[in-house]
Amino acid sequence: MKRIRYFIFGIIFSVILIKVEAVSWYRIQEMFYFESFHMYGVLLSGIGVAFVGFWLIRKSGIRTLTKKPLQPYANAFGGILFGIGWGITGACSGPVYALIGLQVWPAVLVLIGALTGTFMYALIRNKLPH
């Protein structure tokens, strides 16, 4: 039952990302060119609403929310590398799946690349600064 609910949550999130055009390569380029407020509006209003909700959740104590641990080198170097991939393919992790669903088949290559990258990280992570 839980699995079906996660699946339905995935459908809803995918529809939101597609309808607000966050899955579009063009919108991502436009964002990095600073030529429209659209994607900044999406991110900032999303973060803003979540911020208020999370604040209320923490205040009321009905759920515990955890921050990811600070790993300055990993957050920075990994972040830059992820950003480069995001800029080139115009898709981050969520949109990759949404694009495959939209039958943009070359997006499968991005997913294969991402799994390869994950595997590479697993192999050499002990040698990287975190």
Binding site: K2, Y6, F9, G10, F13, S14, V15, I16, L17, I18, V20, E21, A22, S24, W25, Y26, R27, I28, Q29, F32, Y33, S36, G41, L43, G46, I47, G48, V49, F51, F54, R63, L65, T66, K68, P72, A74, N75, A76, G78, G79, G83, G85, W86, G87, I88, C92, S93, G94, A98, I100, G101, L102, P106, A107, L109, G117, T118, M120, Y121, A122
Partner: protein, 186 residues
């Protein structure tokens, strides 16, 4: 009523509809499922399941991230349903200024959701998309999160790790847009 449905279904949503919905979505996920929105752990999960041998990093906490497998399966299905429902009406509106900058890099087709000059199956495109994917996979696992886990969830929690990672997502993205893409001669 039908007209309202048509607008919701066929027209793209403005940021002030989609953005707050993403925020509400993240809140609902916490309230109903006790899960913090994140997506790139699904790479770890898929990798661990596909790999014929065990790896210490890949196999850690598999139970707590397995939900993302069903979540991303839903994401693929969501895209599939929309593509059937909307057929050819999925297009993208970008600002004329952005379009002219992209035309300068050699793009000519702005009719779809991704540029055919990049999302095609030529040897060059296959290499670019694979390498871009490697950067996404390696980078998101190294940074311990992606746009969902760091930029949305983490920033909304004001987590220092997420604020650093999100800033760096933009550093990398801007570098790719200005310093890499124009030289790929798409």
């Amino acid at each position: 009523m039908k007209e309202i449905l048509d607008v919701i279904l066929y027209d793209p949503w403005p940021w002030w509809v989609g953005g707050p919905l993403i925020g509400l979505f993240a809140i609902t996920l916490v309230l109903i499922e006790d899960k913090q929105l994140g997506i790139s752990s699904s790479y770890q999960f898929l990798c661990a399941k596909l790999l014929p041998w065990k790896n210490e990093y890949l196999n850690q906490n598999l139970k707590s991230i397995s939900w993302q497998f069903f979540f991303v399966a839903g994401m693929i299905s969501g895209g599939f349903f929309l593509s059937i429902l909307l057929v050819d009406s999925i297009s993208v509106n970008i600002s004329p200024a952005a379009e002219s900058k992209l035309r300068e890099t050699g793009l000519t087709d702005f009719s779809g959701i991704v540029p055919p000059e990049l999302y095609g199956f030529s040897l060059k495109n296959v290499l670019i998309l694979l390498l871009g994917g490697v950067a996404i996979g390696f980078g998101s696992r190294y940074a311990n999160g992606c746009t969902a886990g760091h930029a949305i969830t983490g920033c909304a929690l004001l987590a220092p790790s997420s604020l650093i990672a999100t800033s760096c997502f933009f550093v990398g993205g801007i570098a790719a847009t200005y310093l890499i893409l124009p030289y790929l001669s798409l």
